[in-house]
Symmetry: C2
Subunit: 285 residues, 2 copies
Amino acid sequence: MQIIHTIDEIRDATAPFRRRFESVGLVPTMGALHSGHLSLVRESMSRADRTVVSIFVNPTQFGPGEDLQAYPRPYDHDLELLEREGVDIAYLPSDTEMYPSGWSTRVAPPAVANQLEGQSRPGHFQGVCTVVLKLFLQILPDHAFFGQKDYQQVAVIRQMIRDLDVPVALSVCPTVREPDGLAMSSRNVYLSVDQRPAALGLYRALMEARRAVQQGEVDGHALMNEMRQVLIDSGVDSIDYAVVADPDTLDVLDQIDDRTLGLVACRVGTTRLIDNLWLTDPPAG
Amino acid sequence: MQIIHTIDEIRDATAPFRRRFESVGLVPTMGALHSGHLSLVRESMSRADRTVVSIFVNPTQFGPGEDLQAYPRPYDHDLELLEREGVDIAYLPSDTEMYPSGWSTRVAPPAVANQLEGQSRPGHFQGVCTVVLKLFLQILPDHAFFGQKDYQQVAVIRQMIRDLDVPVALSVCPTVREPDGLAMSSRNVYLSVDQRPAALGLYRALMEARRAVQQGEVDGHALMNEMRQVLIDSGVDSIDYAVVADPDTLDVLDQIDDRTLGLVACRVGTTRLIDNLWLTDPPAG
């Protein structure tokens, strides 16, 4: 496995793949790799000839007062995991490589970025879109792999790819969960044993809503009230949102239709957790 | 020469060039081609194996009340000119091909976009950056060719390429002028014979400033006053700006240094004209 730190080197390392007509898969991560990330890596390995995994804790997608400094950076362990998976290239650019002095162009993200996370984390998706586009243009992958866990991020990036004609095919992989249902997240390491029951509230709320939909509930507000009640009963410290929404626009739905997603964001102690689940049958493919 | 109207077709048409390792040059234009454009086309033909010329009057770079509707669109004549030059592909996408329903992602341009034209034409460079990036990502050229006439546009695109890591080499070609000195522009067709002397004021003002610098003038404000006086004497109807500036940041200079550019924008009747000139020796290359 090659370990690469600069834009020039990642270009030099990936150019031969293109010259030999080998397809390239990219798994963009912020490191602190868990089974969710590894499922993306395996999907890339099975779909593309070459797999690049980027590890970059992107400062521009963190707001003031967020956990940029505290974000876990177990790089040696991450590299061991990637080596074991047989990844071709681990790409770890520095902050100054990505954002040199004088850097100022950004991506103004699509409208779907203004919903949910966009309300709670202003500027977050501008940072995400910009860094993802930069990684795409540095590496020129054929495929990029993201997790359903960050559903809105996927919706935003999918729309950016469409709107800017980025020549990358996006694949979305299912959320990987702990045995108790907690969605895998690098931020789960922040949770104490005592906080676990509250953290599980997110998945429980979503499962309750899905069960209600399966039993015929169609009233969006009734479902959202039920989700909030489950979250409160579980002991979360605050709720940023708990909604049923259109999967493309993320507009909140008064009435369930045949493609409806539930999405929640809560704080447990100082840790912010998000999760989502299809409340109706997920779309094929 | 292939004439292409859709993104899918331009991708299909350029993919074989890449497969055969032929380099691709792109000359992005809004049509109404003149000798300035043709100099870019010839530069591309000499530097790249294949040349694509795009013709697209980009609505998102025009402000309210600007000349989007009136902008000349002599497409048949343009195509004849390109055919005669031996261009490989003329690419003429429609507005809905470039901006389909639901389109909303934009490029937030670099800081240099806020100067000069950015003051006179808010939103202009966001439109320029977005359409140029889209064309780059549709066509994936190795080289792109722009004219020095739109100096700030070049500075903005150069910075966007750097900041977003766009894998395109930018070439800037000298401004082509009419025998009387008027910079070639598609908007010159708006000028009546009576307006010509005023229009020539732009070049005269810049040449006066250059002569003064060569004679030892170093005071930026003295030079700018002189430029304004020449413009007024020539009969322009209004001056948007007439400045001596740093060529990278476009900050106005109190004091000339060894790399200084003069830039002017005026209205002659309802026609807005711009021009620029190196007041010091231009940088090599």
